[in-house]
């Protein structure tokens, strides 16, 4: 079983991943994009997208799904960060999941790009226990970039310090 976690800790994964064309189970299920999800209950519907999918093509599905999973085929392949950011900028408010062998050291960046949770494969999860993810999330508590979620923004902090 891969390990699923968010900022609060390790989570039970309620979602079932479906292969292309598989029948829908009763519970919440993640369909491979584009997925035939018309008529599904959005609360029980998620989609999984590869990292070369144009986020624009996912926008029409926003109100039909409550989870989008984005593939990270390798931790060095950073396209997913931009996809997460784009989905949020386009107004997606549901759950956003990063799926793949990402490192604890990238957890903070993922959260800032709009991801809520991370699903990592076993081998990696075994080497990098929860405690490392917690430490990584708080390692650098400030950031310079505006408009990204999460850490304390240095520019805002300065603005406050200037009293405006």
């Amino acid at each position: 079983m891969p390990t699923l976690r968010d900022i609060t800790g390790i989570l039970e994964d309620a979602w079932t991943r479906l292969d292309e064309g598989a029948d829908a189970p009763a519970g919440p299920a993640i369909y491979p994009f584009p997925g035939d999800v018309a008529g599904n209950d959005p609360a029980l519907t998620g989609i999984h997208i590869a990292n070369d999918v144009d986020p624009e093509s996912v926008v029409p599905m926003f109100d039909r799904v409550s989870l989008i999973s984005v593939a990270f085929p390798a931790f060095t392949d950073g396209r997913g960060f931009s996809i997460g950011r784009r989905l949020r900028e386009a107004g997606y408010t549901g759950r956003l999941r990063a799926t793949g062998p990402v490192l604890a050291d990238q957890f903070r960046y993922l959260l800032e790009c709009g991801f809520d949770e991370v699903e990592v494969p076993d081998a990696l999860a075994a080497r990098q226990p929860q405690e490392q993810w917690e430490r990584a999330a708080d390692a650098v508590t400030l950031n310079y970039q505006r408009g990204y979620a999460g850490r304390r923004n240095i520019l805002e902090a300065r603005r406050e310090a200037r009293g405006v």
């Binding site: 931790f75 060095t76 392949d77 950073g78 396209r79 960060f81 931009s82 996809i83 950011r85 784009r86 900028e89 386009a90 490192l103 050291d105 990238q106 903070r108 960046y109 993922l110 800032e112 790009c113 080497r127 990098q128 490392q132 430490r135 990584a136 390692a139 650098v140 508590t141 400030l142 950031n143 310079y144 970039q145 505006r146 408009g147 990204y148 999460g150 240095i154 520019l155 902090a157 300065r158 603005r159 200037r162 405006v164």
Partner: protein, 552 residues
């Protein structure tokens, strides 16, 4: 000079602590080498042939005496007593131990420096004009813009795992001393018709395996739009740049394959989607940064200095140095000078810890506490009173820092090459040393005039050979070092890439080859014509003939 506020300081300290933890996790097996490698690279740590190498950023090449002194201390305490300045306004130490790196980074943080993103597939140290703030042809000091970009690009959540490295250079002057045309993004500070200051944006330049000159993406970008616009540029690259082939992963290939117009359409579409008000830096913040680059309080001095004039007459060596290494300052009574790190027969860009300390002292005593690092691997003291130039020269001379060869045949750029670099195919430093010895006669150097020789030890082109008037590229031909020569490259406003002369030469032949090229130029030149001008006038043929005629 920008100095860290409490937030910058905390940010860098936390980053050091994080790296300390990452090193510990590598040692205990939590991180494999494959996982650790990009993390260490993003903290400037390479593994080279003989040892680790730590690359430290000197943002836009600007530093003060205290920082320079710390570099000397690091060289002494954790390395072998010297450092190497690079063409990207960084300094490299060639022998540190992994276990010492976190301590070195902490020592750097003590003086407001870091090694963040000096390597790795992320936005690298932003480079600039070494004469920023003092040049007479400047529209605006580019360092405020550079610092804004430095902050914005540091640990950027979205752009830290790009397809490849990403280099940005900024110039604020009409004559480009920052080589912006050979950067992933080149930024030129310009004024529009309404007199507002903004940016001209170039994209897709670069050297390496496939050298390209950057193309214009935007003729004028209003200042407040800079960061959201860069975000759009980077996002398009991050999502669409190639990742199947490391050698095709730079943005120059994307721009080349899409065409500049299509790339621009992508960027503009992305830009239209971005919530600018939520991304842009507020202009009060820009003003806060810019204030720190306000000109120092220059005393009012006459343009002429009697002491200076006397010293020029009494000491021909000094006069020669001033003539060759001096640079006009915009404030009367002041000069900027280049301290050449290219003594005859030396390793280009190397400085010992004693020299680093003398440079620190020179800055504090004679240059209003400012130093600049140039992409020619030299150091600039930007704010020297003419009255004190002679005293400065005397101090520099005591540590062999008085080479009067800025821009001349012995002011050679060379990458570390096979003597240090794990990627190298041939040596470059010893080649530079041999050439330098051949041309050691100052009168001959002066007669030859401006000539930029640039040497890279492999196709990655860290020595900028494509933009050398004479470029030398070291390759491996069946286990033997072989050197390919290019002519006519130049990185400045009318940037051009060098042309190959023909088949390569052996290690031992190279100094003679350079000699032949120089003699050919001397025979062909018209009065006051430089090597580059002669080459541009007469073309390759006579040089080729001189090189290969005997062999035929």
């Amino acid at each position: 000079m920008y100095s860290y506020d409490e937030f910058d300081e905390r940010f860098v300290r936390e980053r050091v602590a994080q790296f300390r933890d990452q090193v510990a996790r590598r040692l205990d097996g939590s991180l494999t080498e494959e996982e650790f490698r990009p993390l260490r690279l993003m903290n400037g740590l390479y593994l080279q042939l003989h040892a680790y190498m730590l690359r430290i950023a000197i943002p836009y090449g600007s530093m003060n005496g205290r920082q320079m002194r710390m570099l000397g201390t690091i060289a002494e305490k954790w390395d072998r007593g010297y450092g190497h300045f690079t063409t990207r306004q960084n300094i490299q130490f060639n022998w540190p131990k992994l276990k010492d790196i976190p301590d070195i980074l902490d020592a750097l943080a003590d003086v407001g420096m870091h090694a963040i993103q000096t390597s790795g597939n992320c936005i690298r140290n932003t480079t600039s004009d070494p004469f920023s703030g003092v040049a007479t042809d400047e529209i605006e000091d580019p360092r405020a813009t550079c610092e804004l970009i430095r902050q914005w690009s540091s640990l950027h959540p979205e752009f830290t795992f790009l397809g490849r490295k990403f280099k940005i250079a900024v110039t604020g002057a009409s004559s480009d001393r920052a080589a912006i045309r050979v950067h992933d993004i080149g930024i030129e500070i310009v004024k529009n018709e309404a007199g507002e200051t903004g940016y001209r944006i170039l994209v897709g330049g670069g050297l390496g395996r496939t050298p390209m000159i950057g193309k214009e993406l935007r003729a004028f970008l209003p200042r407040e739009e800079l960061l959201p616009y860069l975000e759009a540029c980077l996002r398009v690259y991050n999502m669409h740049g190639r990742r199947d082939n490391k050698y095709k992963a730079r943005i120059k290939i994307l721009v080349h394959e899409l065409g500049i117009d299509t790339y621009r359409e992508h960027v503009e579409a992305e830009y239209a989607r971005i919530d600018r008000s939520n991304t842009a830096a507020d202009m009060a913040e820009f003003a806060r940064i810019a204030e720190q680059f306000a000109p120092p309080a220059y005393p009012e001095l006459p343009e002429q200095s009697a002491i200076f004039e006397r010293a020029l007459k009494a000491h021909p060596d000094f006069a020669h140095w001033v003539e060759q290494n001096g640079f006009a300052h915009r404030v009367p009574g002041f000069m900027a000078v280049t301290v050449s790190l290219k003594p005859v027969g030396g390793a280009p860009g190397d400085a010992t810890s004693e020299q680093l300390r003398v440079l620190a002292e020179a800055a504090e005593q004679y240059s209003m506490d400012e130093l600049r690092i140039t992409h020619e691997q030299n150091v600039v003291l930007p704010n020297v009173k003419k009255d004190e130039l002679f005293a400065l020269w005397t101090l520099l001379k005591s540590q062999g820092l008085d080479a009067p060869n800025k821009g001349l045949v012995t002011d050679i750029i060379a990458c570390p090459g096979l003597d240090y670099c794990a990627l190298a195919t041939a040596r470059s430093i010893p080649v530079a040393q041999e050439i330098s010895k051949r041309f050691s006669d100052p009168a001959r150097m002066a007669d030859i005039g401006p000539l930029a020789i640039k040497i890279s030890g492999c196709i990655n082109a860290c020595g900028h050979h494509h933009v050398g008037h004479i470029g030398i590229l070291g390759l491996d031909k069946a286990g033997v070092e072989s050197y390919q020569i290019t002519l006519g490259g130049d990185p400045a406003n009318d940037a051009s890439l060098g042309e190959r002369t023909g088949p390569g030469f052996s290690y031992d032949q190279v100094p003679g080859v350079i000699e032949t090229l120089v003699e050919t130029y001397l025979g062909l030149r018209e009065p006051r014509e430089t090597f580059l001008q002669t080459y541009r006038r007469v073309g390759m043929a006579p040089f080729k003939e001189a090189l290969y005629a005997d062999a035929a």
